[in-house]
């Protein structure tokens, strides 16, 4: 598909959108006092941020670590109940929204259970630890009429890290064809996309006593049993493939979701992926140098882990390049930009979406697609070989071995 077809496509797909300012929940308007209620599952560092900062009325917190639980309860104040089993939280009829801030190996299971329990969901990134879990989650959310948001926001808000600008003007430039097509996007450590390699795992961990406050078996849940070591859990779990995928897991979806949006790939995925990295350890996440992905129409994404090309463009097409802070080799870009139509506005208020039962701008569908980039990158790093992917079937082509990482086994009794 060339750029012109793409524009035509988007024309026929619905020219305008407006995001009404009105809150349409109640018979007239929702009075401000009528807040939505929520619970936070997993109240480690990230979960306690949800406890402190999220809109709505908090009713419950849940963690398999009694220490975390009491910390969160202290923060939360009165009227909030602590739980150790998230399924008990889902039983409560007075809770509208479930916030999921557990390690990623739990995201899929809890989200699906929450959807089936009739809850709306605000889920931490990365959406799911495997592609298959994400696929299933999309189906369950649709069937159960859940309103879902993934907790990243750069496609509609804030300066976008190493781009040195919000995403909106970039989307506008791309959508109006100023750069031509196809495009190549660099997500470069050196310009400000930190890959957080300190989320590395350790090998040869000597087993340790399990702290009394932690229900380690529940913490592991669907993950294969491994003997306890403090480094496997809180604050450092991202260093182990069983639970996440290092800095890719932590920051990947933040960095890649806006790229999917800019390239208009919300309903598809790359077809080729290759990583340049030292051999990966089976358990401990390590480092990588570069990860390259290509879509069927020729668009490319390059993740640079070490940071090449400090002054290189972050996005380039046959007709022009964009550098950090929206510098460009296109003459009078600013003026040209002013005359162009805006991209479609996006819903930025999740509670609005919940009340109106409308899809949020960052939902399970585009969220699954951007998490897929993260999961593809993880698989490429683990396997070392070049991979070919079928975005429709969401399976690798002619590589059954690689497909074993698309859907990974779960430890009973946890399953999806």
């Amino acid at each position: 598909m060339n750029r012109r077809d793409f524009i035509k496509g988007s024309l026929s797909a619905g020219l305008f959108t407006i995001v009404p300012r009105f809150v349409l929940g109640g018979p007239q308007y929702m009075p401000p006092s009528d807040q939505l209620t929520f619970a936070v599952i997993g109240v480690g560092g990230m979960g306690r941020w949800h406890v402190r900062s999220m809109p709505g009325k908090l009713l419950a917190v849940c963690d398999v670590d009694a220490g975390h639980r009491s910390e969160a309860l202290k923060l939360a104040g009165s009227g909030v109940k602590g739980y150790s089993d998230y399924r008990d939280v889902l039983q409560r009829k007075d809770i509208d929204i479930i916030h999921i801030a557990t390690p990623p190996h739990w995201h899929g299971i809890i989200a699906m259970d929450a959807a089936r329990a009739g809850k709306d969901i605000w889920c931490e990134k990365p959406l799911t630890r495997t592609i298959a879990e994400g696929q299933k989650l999309v189906e369950v959310v649709k069937n159960n009429a859940t309103i879902f948001r993934i907790n990243t926001w750069f496609r509609f808000d804030s300066q976008f890290y190493g781009f040195g600008t919000p995403v909106k003007p970039i989307k506008k430039i791309v959508e109006n064809g100023l750069l031509g097509w196809p495009l190549k996007v660099r997500v470069n450590a050196k310009t400000g996309f930190s890959w957080k390699f300190f989320w590395s795992g350790r090998t040869q961990l000597k087993p340790q006593w399990i702290p009394e406050e932690l229900d380690y078996d529940f913490w592991l849940g669907p993950a294969p049993f491994k003997e306890y070591h403090a480094h496997r859990v809180h604050n450092s779990f991202r260093g182990y493939w069983d639970y996440d995928g290092g800095g890719l897991g932590d920051m990947g979806q933040h960095y890649l979701d806006p790229v999917q949006y800019i390239l208009d790939k919300d309903d598809t995925s790359p077809v080729e992926i290759e990583a340049e990295a030292p051999q990966a350890h089976p358990d401990a996440v390590g480092k990588w140098k570069r990860i390259w992905m290509k879509y069927a129409d020729g668009c490319e994404i390059l993740l640079e882990g070490q940071g090449y090309e400090q002054d290189g463009p972050f996005i380039e097409g046959p007709k022009g390049k964009l550098y950090k802070g929206l510098k460009s080799d296109i003459k009078d870009l600013e003026k040209k930009l002013a005359g162009l139509p805006d991209p479609k506005p996006q819903e930025k208020d999740f509670h609005n979406a919940v009340r109106n039962r409308r899809k949020f701008s960052l939902n399970e569908q585009n969220g699954h697609r951007s998490a897929t980039l993260v999961n593809l990158a993880k698989i490429a790093v683990r396997l070392g070989r070049k991979l070919t992917f079928d975005p429709q079937k969401q399976l690798f082509i002619n590589d059954e071995g690689a497909n074993r990482l698309i859907s990974q086994p779960m430890r009973a009794p946890w399953h999806i």
């Binding site: 009404p20 009105f22 007239q28 859940t146 590395s200 294969p224 039962r357 071995g401 779960m410 430890r411």
Partner: protein
């Protein structure tokens, strides 16, 4: 470097690579498996594949034996073995590697059967999940009923989507216990193994609730109809799982059983609605729609009456897929009687189906009073793209709705891609309401609709001030140079100060110096006195020589009243043309306010001036002489500080004398220095030193010294002292040669060498801003003047790209500092070690250019290093680099290594540790008496000494304990058993309780006595009693002397009996037994010998304490 890629292996690998398979056999003998292992992890995929190929040339037996490395205690290649076995699993999957895959699988098969630890066997078995081969299924399936490995086995089979896996799982179901059944059933469900349904059905009813649910869930997912009564009953049960019936109905539908599933969906949605949550009812309604398709409309219409918005929205969402056209009219009629909220829901629905027949209805809705309905209708008309949409929008803009909907209409017009239609909407401007007009004016500016810019210009003359302001804001965006005259004329028409700022912005946006200067001059000449003043305000913004000259001319000739105004304006002039004028005013004007303003303006102009730097500095100097107020002086100092050349620096140094701003000048100099390189920092530092010695006011000297003390001086943590004071090099010296050479020098030689070393060091090391800085020239190490023995040291360090350094302890190299990217491992390793580990455990470096913190502990010969709070060296012996055959020196200086790249250090703090008490090593039993021992729970004479032996008399029980407690040690002793004898060695035991449990016991026994023939493994000699059996039976007969060595180190317990290792245990593995054996958590306690009713003899009891 740390890991040397063996040259031989490298050569062999490349030969191997280039000769490919034909020489495979010949090369097989060339690889040493340990040598290959040391190459892992491979740095890149090419080397990875080469190594994996090389591994696969080796014999199965060699590969099986390599799996021994996986057991951590047995090998320092265990991580490498993990890389190898995992790497191979991923590698052999390719179709072309059938032969290699068979070999690898056979290796796994054999290795899992060996006596490796549980953890290693799980690891090997887990690798099968990555392998696509029927043989992998067979191997994993063999462990489905294994007491320990079944869980791993089930997980492996979960990934194998083959009939073979299904059959194996189904077969295993019969004899499995309940938790195994749960896992197997769930695995079968995941594999969609409908064939297994009949077997799973047999499980029902299960006593175990989890098993019951798992089985029912799988059967529901398989739509297994014989189980229907059980599924539906259980779903309806109190405390049951209503979701089961939904799942069952969905599965039935997938199997094409529409009739059955329809009735279940109906039950869920209607009859049993109270049992289900709205999510489940939504799913049921969706299921129902898939059963009966277009006929679902009546149900949807009913669902739309539900109180639950979730249900209503789902109903409308489903309605989008079935018989849309036929039913639109019904929806519209329904809407009439509904609440506002429901009306909006229908409007949204109409928008989503994009059906044009709803347009007239929606247009009517635009006129509803409720703004929410208006917004939704407008949004719907937009989405449907009615071909009269531009007219609809115009209608909105014409009416009062434009006010409520201004945000939305603006958003629409900002997105509009059809520029003709957009123009059409804009062109109807005159017909719009006030709010409508405002929207259009904004859009013209933001979309740069230059052809319609006239509307903005016209709006300037409108009577309505709101429109004027919007127009001015718009003109400020548009830069309409051709319309400059129009805008400025409008400006001159306004009353004084009305929208002055907006006008100035709008005028300046359209101003072009080249084309408009002359016009402005002409306009000025012909203007009234009042307009002239107004124009001066524009002149000031526009700047330039001609306009300034004209202004100055006016000022000098103007009548007093106007001159006052004019001067007020001109002292705010904004470009360099006014500098002489402004400086003149600043120096000479009678009016204080004018002087201040002129000075400020001058400062502003100078701040961004493109004049040559020396000229700027000269102006600054003049301004400083014009006696400015303190605040202006500070501004001027900051301007000078921007220009970092010598004349600026000199001026700042001169201003140090000024009591008002001396300190500011100092800070300016300081900030200037902070941005500079190490070398320039040095220059700054010497300047400061000179300053502090030279003639500056005492008050300033005090101020500077105090500031430096506060900002830079070290503040060590409690118990530590600073090795570096943050201010100068006191406490440090240059390094002379090395310890060996220094020892050979005479005092005179050493003194002169020291002087020379100091002067070289001082040329290259300096202190600035609290940092100890090396300028990157050569290799002159710096070292402490004092020597240290045992200590704890903190040091912060920073390197630049390619940087390299190290911390020498006791004058010996070194704790490595370097850039991890180029060295495969990070900093912190004991780089020069040969026998002991030289690499850090982890790479914990911050990116180059950021500060890192070492926390170093040196005790005896051993060193522990934390880098950025990560343990990177764990109690490793530091070898003596200078004299390889000797242990590390007991004392010496701390040195910082210089290595041709700039380095930065700060916060260097030390705490000297009392040298550790020497660890005990020697005889516990002196051969003469029981000194050092004490009898517990028995008569003192139950233990006796005879012929240099310690005898247990065998009466009364109890035990003989050491007087001291020990934590880590190696205990060696000899013992002789009588026939049928029994005794034991207690370790880490308290004096209370049964020491075999409150501490731990290593059993001593006459293993061969008939009376012990029925004992368990873990009761024989050498066993860690009741916890771990000896690996083999090497006990000698009663009456023979036997030797036992017991080593306790942290959680590791090792026993060697008669020179054969028989126990190698990690206490952490016994978590399951912790209740019965609280003693396994002890890390310290008495050592004892058991009196178990037998006359046992002991001799040569030697204890070595371990760190």
């Amino acid at each position: 470097m740390t890991k040397n890629f063996s040259l031989l292996t490298l050569v062999t690998l490349f030969v191997f690579w280039s000769c490919a398979a034909s020489t495979e056999k010949n090369l097989a003998h060339s690889f040493d498996i340990d040598d290959l292992l040391t190459q892992l992890p491979a740095e890149n995929v090419i080397k990875h594949d080469l190594l994996m190929q090389a591994f696969l040339t080796l014999g199965e037996d060699k590969l099986v034996s390599a799996s021994r490395h996986l057991d951590a205690q047995a090998s320092d290649l265990s991580v490498q073995a993990e890389y190898a076995f995992h790497g191979l699993a991923l590698y052999v999957n390719g179709v072309q590697y059938k032969k290699q895959r068979t070999k690898y699988l056979s290796v796994i098969d054999q290795a899992v059967k060996t006596d490796l630890s549980f953890k290693s066997r799980v690891f090997l078995l887990e690798q099968l999940q990555y392998i696509v081969d029927p043989q992998a299924v067979t191997i994993a399936a063999a462990y489905l009923s294994h007491a320990e490995l079944w869980e791993t086995s089930v997980m492996v089979l979960q990934s194998q989507e083959t009939q073979r896996a299904v059959t194996a799982l189904t077969d295993a179901l019969t004899n499995a216990n309940d938790s195994q059944k749960v896992a197997i059933v769930q695995a079968l469900e995941k594999l969609n193994a409908t064939d297994a349904a009949a077997q799973i059905y047999k499980i029902l009813p299960a006593d175990d609730e989890l098993l019951q649910i798992s089985a029912l869930t799988a059967l529901a997912a398989f739509a297994y109809q014989p189980a229907e009564p059980q599924i539906l009953d259980f779903a309806k049960k109190q405390e049951g799982k209503p979701g089961l019936s939904l799942l069952y109905a969905q599965s039935l539908l997938q199997d094409g059983e529409k009739g059955k599933s329809e009735s279940i969906f109906r039950e869920i949605f209607y009859d049993d609605a109270a049992m289900f949550n709205s999510a489940q009812r939504c799913a049921a309604l969706r299921g129902l729609s898939l059963c009966i398709r277009d006929n679902v409309f009546a149900d949807l219409l009913k669902a739309f009456n539900d109180d639950d918005k979730v249900i209503r929205i789902t109903a409308l969402d489903i309605a989008r897929s079935f018989a849309v056209e036929q039913n639109i009219r019904t929806w519209l009629n329904t809407a009439a009687s509904k609440s506002v909220e429901q009306q909006i829901e229908i409007i949204d629905f109409l928008a989503n189906i994009k059906n044009t027949s709803a347009i007239p209805w929606l247009k009517e809705k635009l006129n509803e009073e409720n703004p929410a309905i208006q917004v939704s209708s407008l949004a719907a008309l937009l989405k449907i793209q009615s071909n009269t949409f531009d007219q609809d929008l115009q209608a909105v803009l014409q009416s009062d709705m434009a006010d409520t909907l201004s945000h939305e209409t603006e958003s629409i017009l900002m997105q509009w891609q059809d520029s003709l239609a957009l123009r059409k909407v804009v062109n109807a401007y005159d017909s719009y309401s006030l709010s409508g007009k405002k929207v259009i004016l904004k859009i013209i500016a933001q979309r740069r609709l230059l052809a319609d810019a006239a509307l903005l210009l016209n709006a300037l003359n409108s009577q309505n001030t709101e429109l004027q302001i919007v127009a001015l804001d718009g003109l400020a965006l548009l830069e309409l140079q051709d319309d400059f005259a129009k805008i400025i004329k409008a400006y001159l028409k306004t009353e004084d100060n009305e929208f002055q700022q907006q006008y100035e912005k709008a005028v300046m946006a359209s101003y072009n110096a080249k084309t408009h200067t002359d016009y402005l001059l002409e306009l000025f000449d012909n203007a009234s006195q009042k307009d002239k003043i107004k124009l001066l305000k524009i002149f000031r913004q526009a700047g330039g020589q001609k306009l300034f000259e004209k202004s100055q001319q006016f000022l000098s000739n103007a009548p007093d009243a106007s001159a006052g105004h004019a001067k007020d304006i001109l002292v705010k002039w904004k470009d360099e043309n006014a500098l002489p004028f402004l400086i003149h005013i600043a120096q000479n004007d009678k009016d204080k306010n004018s002087r201040i303003q002129a000075l400020r303006s001058s400062a502003i102009i100078l701040k961004d001036s493109s004049l040559p730097v020396d000229e700027i500095i000269a102006y600054c100097e003049i301004l400083l002489q014009a006696n400015p107020a303190v605040s202006e002086k500070r501004v001027i100092i900051s301007i000078i500080a921007q220009h970092k050349n010598n004349s600026a620096m000199e001026l700042l140094v001169k201003e140090l004398d000024d009591p008002d701003i001396g300190f500011n000048s100092y800070l300016a100099l300081l900030s200037w220095a902070e941005t500079k390189s190490a070398d320039e920092n040095l220059r700054f530092e010497s300047l400061i030193t000179k300053l502090l010695q030279g003639k500056i006011p005492d008050s300033l000297r005090l101020q500077i010294e105090q500031y430096r003390m506060e900002k830079f001086s070290a503040s060590p943590p409690e118990g530590f002292t600073a090795l570096f004071n943050g201010l100068d090099l006191s406490g440090w010296k240059g390094l002379v040669a090395d310890p060996v050479k220094r020892a050979q020098m005479t005092p005179q030689e050493l003194q002169s060498a020291q002087q020379k070393a100091d002067s070289i060091m001082r040329a290259c090391w300096s202190v600035s801003n609290g940092m100890l800085i090396f300028n990157g020239q050569g290799f002159p190490n710096i070292c402490t003047q004092k020597d240290y023995q045992d200590f704890e040291l903190y040091v912060d360090w920073k390197i630049e790209e390619d940087g390299d350094s190290g911390i020498y302890l006791r004058g010996s190299p070194q704790i490595q500092i370097w850039e991890p990217a180029f060295n495969s491992v990070g900093s912190g390793g004991l780089f020069n070690n040969k026998k002991n580990s030289s690499v850090p455990l982890h790479t914990a470096d911050k990116p180059v250019g950021e500060w890192n913190t070492f926390h170093i502990i040196m005790k005896g010969q051993r060193v522990t290093v934390f880098l950025n709070s990560t343990l990177v060296v764990n109690n490793v012996i530091l070898e003596n680099y200078w004299e390889r055959d000797k242990a590390i020196y007991s004392r010496g200086p701390i040195e910082l290594q210089a290595h041709r790249h700039p380095l930065y250090f700060k916060n260097i703090y030390i705490k000297e540790l009392a040298a550790e008490p020497e660890l005990y090593s020697g005889a516990l039993f002196n051969g003469k008496d029981l000194s050092g021992w004490t009898v517990i729970n028995n008569q003192p004479d139950s233990w006796q000494v005879a012929d240099g032996m310690l005898l247990c008399q065998g009466q009364g029980g109890g035990w003989l304990s050491t007087e001291k407690e020990y934590d880590n040690f190696e205990l060696q002793l000899e013992f002789r058993m009588p026939e049928g004898g029994n005794s034991g060695v207690f370790i880490r035991s308290p004096h209370q309780g049964d020491p075999a449990y409150s501490g731990m016991e290593i059993q001593l026994l006459d293993d061969y006595s008939v009376k012990y023939k029925n004992l368990k493994d873990w009761q024989y000699t050498g066993s860690l009693y009741d916890l771990q059996a000896p690996a083999k039976r090497v006990t000698r007969k009663s009456g023979e002397w036997q030797k036992i060595t017991i080593t306790c180190q942290g959680p590791d317990i090792r026993v060697v009996l008669n020179d054969e290792p028989i126990i190698d245990a990690n206490l952490a593995d016994f978590g399951h037994a912790a209740k019965k054996h609280p003693g396994i958590k002890n890390r310290k306690g008495f050592i004892g010998l058991q009196n178990h009713g037998a006359r046992v003899e002991f001799r040569n009891i030697i204890l070595t304490e371990l760190p």
